[in-house]
Amino acid sequence: MSVTEMFGYIQGFLDADQETREDIRKVVQILEQTAREILTVLQSVHQPSGFKEIPNKCAKARELFCTVRTHIADLKTKFPMEQYYRFHEHWRFVLQRSVFLAAFVVYLESEALVTREEVAKILGIEVVRERGFHLDVEDYLAGVLIMASELSRLAVNSVTAGDYNRPLRISNFINELDSGFRLLNLKNDPLRKRYDGLKYDVKKIEEVVYDLSIRGLAKESESGGGK
């Protein structure tokens, strides 16, 4: 094979690669759009009026997740499944976002940590790599960490809205999350960087809980997390 032929061959490969990436990028863009819509719906829980409508908002968000599922199904057709990690970077961000949104919805509904299986179901993807488009464990954890900072915000705003018990429940939840993360041996990677931010969320919620308890505003202070 001559040098020119060889480079022609490689070029053909690179072109195909480029095309696949272009296709993926298009779908991911739509996916990001939908994720933003869901975020907008959920953001309104921070408003005083939004607190009463939490079930409503969640139902609406769940509806929007249907769209997410169809887009992800579309994304799955754009590349060969065994090359998931080759193009992983393209949808990593939006997938983490979606995990966060799903986890947030589940938390608002049931005040529990969404399992990886549940997220996968909400997004219409797999947990195990062998079975197709799956949810990488690091992406799941990153999504959960985004939710933690959202919850610390929610704790502050729920006090403003006059809901004094919620911060206590959030505090318990975040603490449990924190000890969970402490079990992990993280490498010096983006996930680790994000995890380092968790302690500030913990701190902030603890301050809120402190403020409430010294003023006697937290009624069932001891076992607030029981629910």
Binding site: V3, Y85, R86
Partner: protein, 275 residues
Amino acid sequence: MNKRQGEGCPRKNTDAAQDESANTCSPVMAAFKVFQQELDVKHDKYERLVKLSRDITIESKRTIFLLHRVTSVPDTTEILKEADTKLDGVRQKIGQIAEELRGEDIYQFHRAYTPGIQEYVEAVSFLHYIRQRSLISLEEINARLVFMRSEKDVAESAGAQVLTFQVTPSDYLLGVADLTGELMRMCISSVGNGDIDTPFQLSQFLRQIHDGFSYIGNTGPYEVSKKLHTLRQSLGKVEDACYTLRVRGSEIPKHMLADVFSSRTALIDPEEGVV
């Protein structure tokens, strides 16, 4: 501020078990235990691959150094044979990588072993060039990376005795880009030994590769465009050398050519990056 409930649940003997405050019974903790294991398995595999990659890099570099000696030795067969043996060793290491990657998504760990593979491509294509005076193709490289599993492994699990490793086109491309640096060095040193033909052959070959890379341009991976710059420099040096040979070759007695070029290389060398 963990919940210190202190329930005495039986705890698995994991590394993190010393985390006293951890409430091991809650579903959250149970889930994170699973994540811990999953992440550890992944990180361990990654580290093993990095180590293999390093070994491959070192051994390939040594092979390249060995191959640079062919310009100054009358009988090259001995050196080529030795290089073959060395590369066989490298291939075994690549076999271990293939073993690690069996059943995995190869791109998940690609970052761990890509430097080693590029170095291997460089070494193997250098050897191929010295022997055949042509560019080794991607298929030829991949064809040599087929591994039969050892007897006892086969006994354990029947089927899939053959293990292959595929060099990706971009790894191949980057390896070939590195090769040009070696060719440039080979060109200069062969002039130093009074070999007049090799430089011209090399400049021809380098020009072809350069044209190939210009053809690919910036559609390739990001690193290619970086290496293209170095490639230009190498090509420039080789072309200059050929020019000098042509112009002054007839004037300067052969035994003095070496001096002309050793002074040239001394000027050139500092800008040469680590290839």
